[in-house]
């Protein structure tokens, strides 16, 4: 069975600095997708970034980028120029190809300090 592990329960970063959230996953499949979701205090889940496993190029969305290491089964999220509004729980998630079922990690709580 596929599993997603987020080993950092909590992280903190100063405003305008860069922070990296870690995620590892376990699968024997080659066709899959990886996601990062953000859950601010409002608890609304928001899709931050999506990565297709067959693409070598790391996905980027404005200040958010990933470091996808397929051989190491690692999928970390880098947040550049951190803003107070980035304070949230961040969930890494895995989806096997053609299943459309998301498997989530336990999340990392990120606090951005002024």
């Amino acid at each position: 069975a596929q599993t997603v592990t987020q080993s950092q329960p909590e992280m903190s970063v100063q405003e305008a600095e860069t922070v990296t959230l870690s995620c590892t996953y376990d699968t024997s499949e080659n066709n899959y997708y990886l996601f990062w979701y953000k859950q601010p205090p409002s608890r609304q889940m928001i899709l931050v970034i999506r990565q297709e496993a067959y693409k070598q190029q790391n996905a980027t969305e404005n200040r958010f980028s990933v470091n996808f290491q397929k051989a190491a089964k690692s999928f970390s999220l880098k947040i550049s120029d951190s803003q107070l509004g980035d304070t949230a729980m961040y969930f890494c998630a895995f989806m096997m190809g053609n299943t459309d079922k998301l498997i989530f990690g336990t999340g990392t709580r990120l606090q951005v300090f002024p």
Partner: protein, 112 residues
């Protein structure tokens, strides 16, 4: 544009009472629909998913059931709530396979 509505936002129910949480999607047809539960301090657990009217798949055996009476409506139910049913329930939909989900705003359920 597509929107997803979930209600109620907050619910406090006594043990043994019934439950009905509703989720509807607008602006699309034949979406894949999902119910997740988030227990305090934990990740999200998939409870049910549906790929069409009347088609329900259960991921975890428990005190809950789901139904999809209409194309864009997904209902989570229980006949008798347990204390362990407390949590934050999220409905989600996806426009196509492997695209990712859009989530509703969630329901905080407290069973007392």
């Amino acid at each position: 544009s597509q929107t997803i509505h979930q209600w109620p936002a907050t619910l406090v129910q006594p043990v043994g009472s019934p439950l009905s949480l509703e989720c509807t999607v607008e602006g699309t047809s034949n979406p894949n629909l999902y119910w997740y539960r988030q227990a305090a301090g934990r990740g999200l657990q998939l409870l049910f998913y549906s790929v069409g009217i009347g088609q329900i798949s259960s991921e975890v055996p428990q005190n809950l059931s789901a139904s999809r009476p209409q194309d864009r409506q997904f209902i989570l139910s229980s006949k008798k709530l347990l204390l362990s049913d407390s949590g934050f329930y999220l409905c989600a939909w996806s426009p196509q396979v492997n695209y990712g989900y859009t989530f509703g705003s969630g329901t905080r359920l407290t069973v007392v």
